[in-house]
Subunit: 256 residues, 2 copies
């Protein structure tokens, strides 16, 4: 990609009715690293409601491109994905957001400009608008309540593309071992054993067993603490607690 990866993606909102959704969409794409927004025949723009809901993504709104129709909205792009909540009569490949993100990134990697196209809140994309797209993306909503809020759909798509870009970026990098604090790694077997010994002695001191089998109880406690994989500094706290319980038991017994 010649441009920065995120600059290959444009979010295109078509005939949006509610200005608030434009603002929420601007915020949504901004959180995911994108900033290119195209508005096709919005009901109102600019609008204070959009600005309020952008919650600071003013740069996205300020640089938004406003055009009359989707042909204008797609100018300069070579790959377009159209969002649709319903299965349509349109004969287009239907992708889920993850597959859509993968194809969008593949196109961007070839240097292409990619459009993610979202229709009107109530009516979605018209068939002639979908027919300008290379594939349809359907967010897998439930059949009896299928309609996501517009900006929620934008968020999901932006999130999927960002996740895939991050995974891409993470791959070729050699795994660098972070510096670890020895206190923050699980304690070794000897240290854990020392804790179990101390725990067993304490249970005797506080007269916990009372006829129950010490072995069975210790096996159960062992299982519990091994599952937690305690760190050394956590063991230190536990030793401190046991020591205090033992001290109390000692004082209690002097009394007898």
């Amino acid at each position: 990609m010649a441009l920065a990866p995120y600059d290959h993606f444009r979010f295109v909102l078509v005939r949006t009715s509610h200005s608030g959704n434009i603002g929420s969409a601007a915020r949504a794409i901004r959180t995911m690293g994108f900033d290119r927004l195209t508005l096709v025949a919005p009901s109102r723009f600019p609008d204070p409601e959009a600005t309020a809901l952008a919650a600071g993504a003013d740069d996205v709104l300020g640089n938004a491109v406003v055009v009359d129709d989707l042909v204008g909205g797609l100018a300069g792009t070579t790959f377009a994905l159209g969002l649709s909540a319903r299965r349509r009569g349109v004969n287009l490949p239907e992708l889920d957001p993850r597959e859509g993100a993968a194809q969008a990134i593949a196109a961007a990697r070839r240097g292409e400009q990619v459009a993610l196209v979202f229709g009107n809140e109530r009516t979605g994309l018209e068939n002639d608008e979908l027919s300008r797209c290379h594939a349809m993306v359907r967010i897998p909503s439930v059949d009896d309540f299928s309609s996501l809020n517009l900006s929620q759909a934008v968020q999901v798509v932006a999130y999927e593309i960002r996740s895939a870009l991050l995974a891409d970026a993470a791959e070729p990098v050699a795994a660098v071992e972070a510096e670890v604090d020895p206190d923050e790694v699980p304690a070794d077997a000897e240290q854990v054993e020392r804790f179990f010994t101390h725990l067993g002695e304490t249970l005797d001191d506080i007269e916990f067993h009372k006829g129950r089998s010490p072995t069975t109880i210790m096996l159960k406690l062992r299982k519990l603490f091994l599952r937690a994989r305690p760190e050394l500094r956590e063991l230190r706290i536990l030793h401190g607690i046991l020591a205090d319980a033992q001290r109390m038991a000692g004082m209690a017994k002097k009394r007898d």
Copy 2:
């Protein structure tokens, strides 16, 4: 899973300021097949703004459970994921939404109830709220504009869990339900909370703190025990140990 898969998940919104976000979140989870919403100390609920933005997800709002604090919000759950926009001082495993969804589904498959916990719009989850969660989920937003709208975050998490459930269902594996002994599943949040309360009281009784901050120590112990995900019968043993330590402390003090 004994229940339908989606019934194992509960979305918990903590101290939500804007009623509209409650409505948008209800719509978001409903589109993804979920319907269990818990509201912890919402600013206002019910509220016409919530109803308007739910856009027909009235059943979700109507069945929403309203509670005073997160302990109540987690009642009956055994696995909780807390959403956080920022990396925190809290030392919890940090997952991305996909990893979080995988862990949540694994818990649901074991028959557990799972909570997805979302904090206040401006302040997020408090550290003591995060400390009641087993892991933190961070949606991978950009550093310079990291804050998603609350309902957008809900949408992304619900979408990831649904996508994973759909992928699971597509697999030809017959999910065999093992008979589970209620003693052998992780204790629920209330039971664990009761243990932490008892542990805190015991530390006071045995005079453990000695100038150290009880809060810091309790957070560390909380983290250790949450990691172990104790079973109910294990908690019973621990309660027994604490009770004996308290008894010794009581006897020791009578002596003074």
